[in-house]
Subunit: 344 residues, 5 copies
């Protein structure tokens, strides 16, 4: 437990208070109190629970939700405070599709902010440093302090979201080349698809929370602080918009993959058809002159063999020319012919 | 029929009452009365109907709905009570896609909860044990008791939903391998698709019911109990969210199946094309020297045969090299070449 | 025209009134009057129009709508009455996809129900028999009588909807087998698709009508009768839900059909590839020893022929083994190998 | 400019007024004045602009919108009048997919209707004839007169919409046959798809306009005329519904086209596989006995040749029988086998 | 910084004011003041920030948003003014799919308009010229002046949107021809798809802004100016509608591409099947008469060879006729046969 107290008019934030100091600190409504509880170890969790229930008298169910870690973002109003859950994002070095989320629970009262989290939050550490070096944030009151924390959390979404853009482009390029190991690409597409769906879901729920916070529904956030919450909401809206459009791109990847596979199959078929179309007639001719009929006049012609070879060559060239005309082999140059519709 | 009565201030819940005791018990508004009616046998159903109509004077249509078992979740307000239908989930051992639902009907009045069900509910049994061992639940009143029942029912959804996740992953793996018996995989996908659609439908309707219950619409649920209903609503929301995302995954399975099949066809085609492309020219050569022309000088060359064999080998190797360059055979190593776009 | 009048306190319903009796009957507000008009023949239609316009003074446009038969379900409020159109369903014996609908128009006033229909309705006949044998329905007033009619009409949707379920399953089975005449299956899928779309459209519009009727919008339906309308609404909701899910199933049929076709093509390709892969090399060998070179030592070996045949057999067996390993022929048993990913 | 004036109590509509007469005619609030302005030529457009701006003092922007012809349907309220744009439909003889729309702008005031259109409207001509022969329409006031015009315009949508139904069915049949020139069918499908999208868009916007008109939002339409506008709205709703369902059908055409193509490819593959599977083994046998080994005992058997031919025939018949069993050739009769699942 | 001031009753707009003049100019509420701030260089940005914060005292967050350039269109109300962000479109000469957007930030107060932009706007330049030559715009007040700017910005969307139409048609034509380099077409489709998605997103957000501006929500826009904002809204609605329909067309391109590829593959298969079906039987015959059986009576027939050649020709012609009947070769004329369903 870390407690930060800003006394009105004071120059800096005081720290180092214990559970016993809290009631007195909270009683003075001009103070701004921030209690940051971490629940990494069972003892910490037990201590946090004790403080939330016995010092602040928060609703039992919200404390239970704090201690669990599989909750959706939400915000719930109570007469003197509101309870909220938001999710921070934890980028993975391996790949953006492996990003995970971590839960931040908290309460905002008239003159206090409570934050509870099991995992460490870079954003919270940052705000702590900020208020230590500068009393500007605390002067504006508890609601502004909370805004600062949420703003930092939402800011850390952006790099993850940008990584997605890159990942999708890389996969798209590989789909277009599609050299080998298609199945692996498909698996990657599925992974991105899942990750994007997760991102969409989280940012959508989070957006609901910030929409409600920024619309003056909660008396704990004074009118003049609302624009700051709206600002966080707008940032999140951008993230949500981007994740929506990533969803479209990813579902487009399947279409492309499929079309590229169809094209490749078409190419393989053409090759096979060309080979067969050229070889089969020639083989037939060879077969004909391999027949053992007694009376086959051509066989006795001294140039029969060479004429036959020449005829075979002629057939082969004719067919090659035909396939070249159809555009199946030696792709014709793109430049001028491209705009002209040719009869086929 | 099982009747549980908690008298205010009493230490434990009393049981063993009959139909005749009910009017007196209900008249004392400080009592909390739970009447659990089971309708497994026709006699039980008849008895339940009698009690619902004649002791409680519930609306005729709701009693009719109780006795039927094909109703959707809903909640309907009446002046002194509300009537609700929720669905519990019945997991099947064989496969999560075979899960079935069972209907729980009920009424909540100022000081009583009525539950009616044709099939046995593990969740109801659990709550019974709970109130027998602990009067905590009943002290908070009838609305809290009902919340406890609903909470247990919703909790039992979770294992079924988790099983789905697993099932979908297993199918996805099999689609990616796609060794044999594709049609069977397709049938499995269809089964999951149906089951997920069913899960989505049920949880969506149920969510409506719990949303209305948790929003203060019904005077039978006092203000201080609403957060508990909101909690159940949030759990169900998570289930509903998951089933939504399962729906997406399942519809993605068709895309994958399709893409994997297209890839396999492409592979088969390549094999066929390679075989044909190599064998047909060699056969042609063999055919040519099998012709019976009188004048075929090569035939008389002592090394003609061996030169021809060598030439055939050369052609075969050239073509193999060509196909290897195209990446059709002996897949080149992935590591460095992967990032380089090769001209093809 | 059939007129049914229930006089308050009377034991049975009176019939056999004419147009001239209507004004007096309607003037007594304690009567419940049901006028059922059929418009099968032009004379009937003319008579009905005369009564609707001159006896009841209904709005001209509603009377016009009555006489037409291509209207959507709707309900329209007027000061003293409301006008409604609902659709009954007419099952066809041949196939559920050929179901047709028939229009029922009507009016509900304070003490009267008017129904107008061109085609015969089984449901109306049933209600007539009901009120002849039992005055219970009429005692509850005109709104309850109308509810009874609507309830019967909605009940007759259910068998049609159930038939759909069956039809879709039959088609699904045939798609999975896909023996022959694929195009015919596709045509059947399209027919079901259209029929389901029609069912969805009709039930959605109808649902709107019943939602408005059951929500207390119309003063002609007293408060205590509303639950009965809500009941009809719930039945229709179930039908609407089912038709929604049929829509999903049917659009899934295309996916399956497509995947099954792709599988079959894949199988055909494999067969072709196997045949070619085995036969072409053997033919090449035969071709080689069919060449007419003078110096081919093997030809003179006494066992050359038999060794060659043996070699051919060896090649064939090797290739068969290879394809069997790939799982292309003689599908390996599913049980243990299924869970193991094999390198391919 | 054509001006129609109906004076209260008069027997017929007067015509032939000029711009100068308008102020006096409009000042008498018991008159019903219809000014129909056509903007085909620049002079007409200039005259119309002059009247709209200087006689009626309409808002400058609405007059500008009148003179343009690329506006969407809309309705805009002003204190004394409302301005509306609706679209009429202009069927093309060649094909329903080429239907175009023409814009009708107009104003409705207390006692006047103004219509402005660049192209000729059959529906307006019809209403003119109607009011010339019959003063019934004008007696009901300006709002009823406008309803009459809108009703005629919407009525003319129906034949176009019906043509679509037919066109889609024709294309569907051709897709199912799919004899040749597939690409042309695809182009037709795309054309219909575009046309249906256009129809949907127009009817959706138009529906908005009529919904607002029919809901009592505008004081220029008195309460007793609203049902007539609702009637037009209902007609348009039907058109909108139909165009929605056409959209579904058309997007289904791609699915069918695709499935039919896949079936055809499958059929071609089967043919190829059958030919190859039968011919290749026979060719191999012929090849074997064409080998030139010295010691091939069969060659000396007097019946060797005939036995070999017989053996070839046996193989061919066996394979044919095998493919017939698989259902690839000579489709088996559908009747009884259809319901039995055969092992394959 | 450019400042334009219109003094009530004056004939022309005055320019050339500095930061110091602003407070006095703004204090006279009959003036219309337009301050156009450009933020291209860091100094300009710093100056602009100074003016926005210190002269106008705008909310700090809005000033921060001004200086950033990755914001979504939005509008935010403050007591004395509102802040807005809109996006102008910057066409690229290379291709419409490369269009970019540029941000315009601004404020509207009772008697002033502030615009801030980093990049140059043609539309703003145009409005400057307009008000220099004509005091009409300024006479109507600040809100009308802002409308003029927005109108110009939205007008410049139209050419970009029209270019899309053209681009999509060109791609569609190329998909239908599909001569070569399919993958490149796929990449183009993807590019258009992304660009259209971007256009949809931007116009949707912009539409929200203009909807709010045109609905009387902001007191800075007087009632009589609202129709002008509605006019801009309608223009944007048209753009939004078009971009919606482009989205449909583009997603249709994948369907077409896929169908065309399937058709082409089908054609290749047919060619292959025809070649194989004709050549294989003939080769078999040649193979049979190439066998070395001693007793093959036909071989000794003087016309055996010629009869065999004739027989081969007969087979080839029969098969060609068969394939012609199937419509695989030499497509039959379309005209009369098209409407007749032939048995196949």
């Amino acid at each position: 437990m870390e407690v930060f107290v800003y006394r009105k008019g004071s120059d800096e934030v005081e720290e180092g208070f214990t559970k016993e100091d809290l009631p007195a600190l909270l009683a003075d409504k001009t103070n701004v109190v921030w209690v940051d509880l971490q629940g990494e170890t069972p003892e910490q969790a037990r201590e946090a629970k004790d403080i939330l229930l016995n010092v602040f008298n928060f609703h039992y169910l919200t404390v239970e939700d704090c201690l669990e870690t599989r909750n959706q973002p939400k915000v719930e109003a109570f007469p003197d405070y509101f309870y909220f859950i938001v999710h921070g994002v934890k980028p993975e070095e391996t790949s953006p599709v492996n990003f995970t989320t971590k839960e931040l629970d908290g309460y905002l009262g008239e003159n206090y902010v409570i934050t509870f989290h099991v995992e460490r939050f870079r954003s919270i550490k940052k705000v702590k440093n900020q208020i230590r070096s500068n009393n500007f944030v605390c002067q504006r009151g508890a609601a502004y302090l909370l805004h600062q924390i949420l703003d930092q959390i939402v800011d850390l979404y952006m790099p993850v979201v940008d990584d997605f853009d890159n990942t999708i482009n890389v996969i798209e390029d590989r789909v277009f080349q599609m050299k080998r190991n298609n199945t692996k690409i498909l698996e990657e597409i599925m992974d991105v698809r899942r990750a994007v769906a997760r991102l969409k879901r989280i940012s959508a729920r989070q957006l609901d929370v910030l929409y409600r916070l920024s619309n003056g529904e909660f008396p704990q956030i004074p009118q003049n602080i609302l624009p700051f919450y709206r600002d966080v909401h707008d940032h999140l809206l951008r993230i949500s918009d981007l994740s929506e459009s990533y969803g479209d791109l990813v579902s487009g990847l399947f279409d492309i993959h499929f079309s590229v596979t169809a094209n490749k199959t078409n190419d393989v078929m053409k090759l096979l058809a060309i080979f067969s179309a050229i070889m089969l007639p020639l083989s037939l001719i060879a077969g004909i002159y391999g027949m053992n009929f007694e009376n086959m006049p051509e066989l006795h012609s001294p140039n029969g063999y060479f004429l036959t070879l020449g005829f075979m060559l002629l057939i082969a060239l004719t067919l090659l020319f035909y396939f070249w005309r159809k555009g199946w082999i030696f792709e014709k140059s793109e430049t001028p012919a491209d705009t002209v519709v040719e009869e086929e």
